[in-house]
Structure formats: structure tokens, C-alpha cells
């Protein structure tokens, strides 16, 4: 047992006031959300693996995927993950302005990543590879696109957080939001590494 009855009363007061630390709950809740997101991406990766060979006699990934853009994308996203980490460090030192600057840089890098992804998709469609072309391309666009949508949502979310910090300053609530956002951003980075290896490198190699 964690407490002896004598100490129970102390602990008790703590609870009576409803002091389950809300940030603590949110962080755990967010980890759980990430678990579900891992399963979602896992399902998409599994789908992609099953359908990888099913190009239906049409255009294959190896023919049209261009690695140059992907390498730049990877560099942008990895850097943005780093800068979001720096933003959290700045937050922990209560340097609000610095934190916001780092968040903005993170956002710009993310936006650039998205821009490249859109360019890539346009290029692919141009080459004749669309969602309707074959099972392989359906799986490709859905998997890569789902990651892209996550990045886009993250960008909007970050803008909302920056506005709130500008308005209300740093407090336990806004701190919690930045922490959770940064977790999310690192997660997207990790997913991208898998995407890079499985969708791009394995295809091109």
C-alpha cells in the first residue's frame, strides 16, 4: 500500500480539491492517442507491404520516384523535429520569445516539407501515377498522404498554440500544449523515417 492510513488524510485533501494534475492526465492521454496512431500507420504500412507488388502492369514506383526531393524533405523534417525540441528547451528556461521563434522556424520547415510533398504528388500525377492507377499507387498515396495530413494538421495546431501563448503567456496549460505538440512532431518524424525506408528506399534500391 502506498500510504499508511495516518498519511491518508493528507493525500486525501490533495484529492478532495480535485488536484489530479490535468497536465499529467493529458500527457498520458496523448501517449495513448499516439498508440492508436501507431496502429493506424501500422495498418497502412501493412497494407502498403501487401500491395507493393500490385502495380497491375502499369507504372512502378522505381520508374518515377525521385530521391533528390525526398532527401531534402527528410532533411527539412528532421531539422524541424530538432527545432521543436529547441523550442521546448527555451520554454523550460522561460524564454518565451525564443521559444516562439523556434516554433515558427519549425512551422516553416514543416510547411516547406509539405510544399515539397505536394510538388512530388503533382509530378507523379503528371507521370501518370494517381490513386486510381493501381493498388500500389493507391497504397502509396494513402500512406504518404496520411502522413502529410498529419503534418498539415500539426501546422494549424501549432499556429493555434502560438496565438494562445502570445495572448496568455506561459502557464501550466500552455506549457502542456507545447510539450504535447512537440511529442506529436517527433512522432511524425519517426513515422517519416519508416516511410523513407519502406516506401522510398526499398522501392528505389
Amino acid at each position: 500500500m502506498a500510504q499508511s492510513p495516518a498519511h491518508g488524510t493528507d493525500h486525501h485533501d490533495h484529492h478532495a480539491a480535485g488536484h489530479h494534475d490535468p497536465q499529467d492526465l493529458k500527457l498520458l492521454g496523448f501517449w495513448m492517442f499516439l498508440v492508436t496512431d501507431v496502429i493506424m500507420f501500422g495498418t497502412l504500412f501493412a497494407t502498403f507491404m501487401v500491395l507493393r507488388g500490385n502495380t497491375d502492369g502499369s507504372i512502378t514506383g522505381a520508374e518515377v520516384l525521385e530521391m533528390n526531393g525526398i532527401i531534402i524533405s527528410t532533411f527539412l523534417l528532421l531539422t524541424s523535429s530538432f527545432t521543436s525540441g529547441v523550442a521546448v528547451l527555451a520554454m523550460n528556461q522561460n524564454k518565451v520569445k525564443q521559444m516562439i521563434i523556434w516554433l515558427v522556424i519549425t512551422g516553416l520547415l514543416g510547411a516547406a516539407f509539405l510544399g515539397l510533398e505536394v510538388t512530388e504528388f503533382i509530378h507523379l500525377v503528371h507521370e501518370g501515377a494517381t490513386l486510381q492507377t493501381s493498388a500500389y499507387w493507391s497504397a502509396f498515396f494513402t500512406l504518404v498522404g496520411t502522413h502529410g495530413v498529419h503534418v498539415a494538421v500539426g501546422l494549424f495546431w501549432m499556429i493555434a498554440i502560438i496565438i494562445q501563448i502570445v495572448r496568455r503567456g506561459l502557464n501550466s496549460d500552455t506549457r502542456g500544449k507545447v510539450t504535447v505538440f512537440s511529442l506529436y512532431w517527433h512522432f511524425l518524424d519517426a513515422v517519416w523515417i519508416f516511410l523513407l525506408s519502406i516506401v522510398y528506399l526499398m522501392e528505389v534500391m
Binding site: G53, N54, T55
Partner: protein, 324 residues
Amino acid sequence: MGKKRRSLVRAAFSAVTLVMTMLLLSGCGNYMVLDPKGPIAAKQLDLIIITTLLCAVIIVPVLIITFVIVWRYRASNKKADYKPEWAHSNLLETIWWGIPIVIVIILAIVTVRYTHELEPSKALASDKDEVVIQAVSLNWKWLFLYPEEGIATINTITIPEDRPIRFELTSDSPMNSFWVPELGGQLYAMSGMSMALYLQADEPGTYFGTGANFTGEHFANMTFDVNATSEEEYAQWIEEAKSSSETLTAESYEELSKPTEKEEPRLYASFPNGMYESIVTKYLHDGAELHQHGSAETGDLKGPETVDVQDADSEDHSSSHSGH
């Protein structure tokens, strides 16, 4: 409990018992699955009986114990022990973790043995040649092709008794399942692939066959008869089919594959060579792999059983095997 209510309950119980007894008596022995007419269905029935008995070893005592405990420890029975704190016993819990584990181990061994033995694509041991029948599920009828005889039928099959039949199943419509309960268990019929199912009839008779997996609006009409006959009658039937006025052509197949509500059984004197193969590979573009075969979960079966189909059409069928 009031007297009136108790008698009501009793009346209800006896009604249920009566109905159950009637049910069991009415059809005992006539149920298709319990009345096998071929070696596969017979073995499956053996297995059903074994599993029922193994389960009964646990189920029957549990039902009795339930009744005894509930009756004995009812609150109104003041003679019974009452031990409100007694909630743990290593011995008892070991027993009831242990017994099911032992039963499941036995059941698992039996199952694995039978699963390999009754693998549907495994040829039946027989000194007679097998008959090949190719079955195509269409909306909403079955097309059967006899490639060796060159004849085709709709919604009816005739087979010689005592000879292994190799059914090759596919579909040119949503996934179906081919089932002749008295001869043996079912197997899915799926577009873009061919599945092999061996069955055999031990005695002449007319057996009920059906599509078992829902394929849309008039799925209920996808039943067919399987007539098991002597060799002579079978040969006669083949002749009859060959003299049918109808023949199946690529064009008439186009027409046939369109949805229809219900088709009466009929015979075709001939069908184009390679028709079954072209149905199976309908969705295969040149250079592409036979996609459904590539997926991991069908790996085992697909090996030698479907090579012929792939040979018939796909130049690079070997690539479809590289996956497994």
C-alpha cells in the same frame, strides 16, 4: 415465489423440454452434416464427434456443478455452509487451469493432424482417376465446366460415385463458397484465383449443394444438385450433355455472367478451350503478377495446386510465387 408463478415456470420448462425433444427426435440422423456420403464428410464428422466428446468432458460436469451449487447455497437453505471470506484456493485454481489446458492440448493435437489430413487441396488416395470439375460462381448461378469431357452445366453436377472429384473453384462475381454438406466442407470461390477442393461420393444419390457465402440480392437461389451415379450412368449423362442443343461460347458467357435472378439447371454441349483459365486471369494485365496469389495468407495452398492455371496464361507466373 407464489404457487401460481412456480407452476407457470414449470409449464414453461416442460414446454421447452418438449420442443427440444421433438426437434431432436424429428430429424435425428437425417442432418446432412451428420449423415456423410463421402470420405471427407465422414472424417469431418469423426472430428466433430471427437471435439464434442472432449468438450462434453468439461461442459457436462460444469452444468451439473452449476445446478448443484445454485440449489444448495440458495439463501433460504439455512443448512448450507456460509463462508463469506473464503475466496482463494491454490489447489482448486490449479485444477481448473489444468484440466482445460490438458483438454486443449489434446484437441490441438487432433486438430493439427486433421487439418493437414483434410487440407482441401490434397488429392484423395484412390486407384481410380480423378474427375476435374471447374466451378464458377456467377450472379446468381453456378457454372460448372468439365474440362476433360468438354461439357458445361448450370446449377447441376453429375459425378461418378467412388471416384475422387477435383473441384477447381473461382468466381466471376463477389466471393462465394462452394458447399456440398453431405460430401464435405466448403471452400471459398474467389475472383482472380483458383482453389482446389477434393470431394468424393461413396454411394449414388442426389446431394444438396449450395453457395455458402453471401454474394448479393438473389444469393438464396444459388443452390444446385449433385447427382452421384454409377460409371455407366455417368458416361450416359456425358453423352446426354454432349447432345445438348446449347453450347457455351465467349459471347454467350458474356450474357450468362450478367446478373440473373434464378436459373434452371441446364447443359451445354461444349465450351471454349481455356475458358476457366481466362475467367481466373480476367483481371490480370500483361506483365502483372497474379495478385491475389501473392499475398502471404494464401501462401501454402497456392503452391503446386494452381500452377497449371497460371501456366495457362501468365508468362511470368514464377514471379507470383516469389512472394511466398
